[in-house]
Amino acid sequence: MTIERDTIVRDLINIVGSQRVIIDGQVLKERSHDRFRKFESICGVYTRPIPAAVVMLETVQQVSDVLKYLNQHGITCIPRTGGSATEGGLETIVENTVVLDGSRMDKIIRIDPYNMLATAQCGVNLEVLENKLRSQGYTTGHSPQSKPLACMGGLVATRSIGQFSTLYGGIEDLVVGLEAVFPNGEITRIKNVPRRACGPDIRHVIIGNEGALCYITEVTVKMFKYEPENNGFNAFTLDHMKTGFEILREVMTSGYRPSIARLYDAGDGAQHGFNQFAEGKCVLIFMSEGPVHIARATRTGIAEIVARYQECMPIDNKIIETWFANLNWGPEKIALEREFIRKNLNMGFTTEVSGNWSCIHTIYENVMKQIPEKFPHAGDLTLFGGHSSHSYQTGTNMYFVYDYNIVNCRPEEEINKYHIPINALIVEETLKAGGSMVHHHGIGKYRTPWTREEHGSAYYILESLKKVFDPNGIMNTGTIFPFEK
């Protein structure tokens, strides 16, 4: 039986108190989406079902009590913390959805420098945690561009990755232990140990679940010594992306672990001003860090590898250092972006994918060829290109970027006219070449048509997780798994 909106609100107030249940119309509208539909929200157009309420959760017990209630009545919920998601994972698609906001669970619980562990509640902003650690000479090693906005719960839920991932790894390499609450109200804690062989690594049921299986309430991550005085850049211009991929491969397979390994094509580089010193060129950037001897050896090793490629010319490191210091997205940049979009009707999106060394250049080339040919509104594109920014022993990612002028369409039509078809072309080309359709943003709600193809026969495992942990399908419906009415 469908439960009425007013009843849901009344019951939630009974469970957590009226001060924690928000039903203000504007707040509800704003919580019906994330940065995927940014143009609609800039224009004040809200096309998604407006949630019944936003619940500001403050304790694990409240999370458990609320989830138990929602599960019992089959009411969809969307876990949320920093709200910086870009793939529609925070969008409401079911009437009377309840948004479970954990941003008030914002205590840094423990910093343990001896065991190098930092424990924080889900609503702790990463920048706050990172600044606290840095003041004590440590770092999380995790630094996504969304650092000023994103919180620990959301970062773990989306399998986030940071700009220094080539050294420190993605969030999945940094998480030691977790606390999460499942829809039946079960509170689970995974203990903090360096490694164990006690069955499958169950952390990975939770990491990357995008709120579709459980609610993350607490995270323990690794700490590292913070020694920025040893940081150093190697940066070069080059003519071809293929050469850049070869160099990245050689650096990684030779055993070097720079914290940053980035390769930009000319199109993407132009939006960063790289065309001011390298017009029409690709740009390759490495940063080495860590203990002084390792940082120095990494720089030397990379320089030796790059020296074998005659097309590579060095760039003044100061240019790159200054550029990199300004790369993050905080509230002020988002506000400026929104104003720019409103005035100029020009905006951009990204699609990030990954592939082994043997196919990544094919993916890059095919996408660069297919978009101008197959995307019917390619004439409206104002920027199109990409970069690789996270490399591994076995391959790397490609981060495609595309900006466009919004021409002759209403706010609610924009996403279907531009972003969704471009995104689809990139995903399909990637899967065709043998890569993965999502590198670090999560599947959200708009790459679900390809979830089955992405996982192939392993989809059985993924689907079984949903059936076991969320049998009533209340957890972030339509995320990761396609929405079936």
């Binding site: 001003g273 200054t322 002028n405």
Partner: protein, 275 residues
Amino acid sequence: MKVAVCFKIIADLNMPLDRDWNVVDQGPVDLSFVRQVFNCFDESSLEMGLKLQAQSEAVTDKIELTALTIDDQRADLFLKHLYALAYDHAVRIQPDDPMDLVFHPLWVSAVLSAYIADIGRQQLVILGMQGGEGNNGQTGYLVAERLGWPCIRNVMDIALKGPENGLTVTSMTDRGTMMQTIDLPAVLITGNSPQSPFLRVPTLKQKVKASTRQITALGQKELGVKDKGMIRKDKAPAGLYRPESSRKVVFIEGKTAEDKARTLYEQSLKDRLNQ
């Protein structure tokens, strides 16, 4: 109608780190490693020029737009960007000797007005109120003075009056917004423009098309402008200091939002609002 929009490119001053603000050997602060951007007020001017051009296509002969700057070849990338946005002419005037022009509005205005009057033969000049680096705020007035043309400052918006050779200019004054109908020639000095805060973005196709167009590069000598008395090479920065600036945070306590709002009003706003 021939319209010149004067602009300068400057270092993006949001980018340098605190430690980058150094004076070495009494030279200018080295910002050569910082990304260059359109000066923000000039960006508004350039956008106003394009809007005016678009209006003219509907009512009269298309406006002939010239983008004009004083710089070396680093400005060519920006001039091609303006070609892509439908500027008809892109003109760069290069000083005879490399020099720091930040604090030399007298010389800059002499060069600009020489081009506008003698070569470009423009009827309208639009330019930003000041540059982000020097903040002199003098060039626009000096250009108007040299040309002997009337000028309006703090311009927010410009529109064609109609098929005749005139404009409606909206500007910010101390008492509010003023709308004036003017005849040409004139110099318009743009301020903060809510109507045109950003320059539009060209498409990739427009950029490709513009990439082969030639920039008109002129030397200082071709304009007959000499440095004498206008460039003071004996003045150089001796040092820099950062003014102290700090904020204090006060947490307002109260049982309800109403209590907190009342406390905020009583303690922090009442006196200020009554001033």
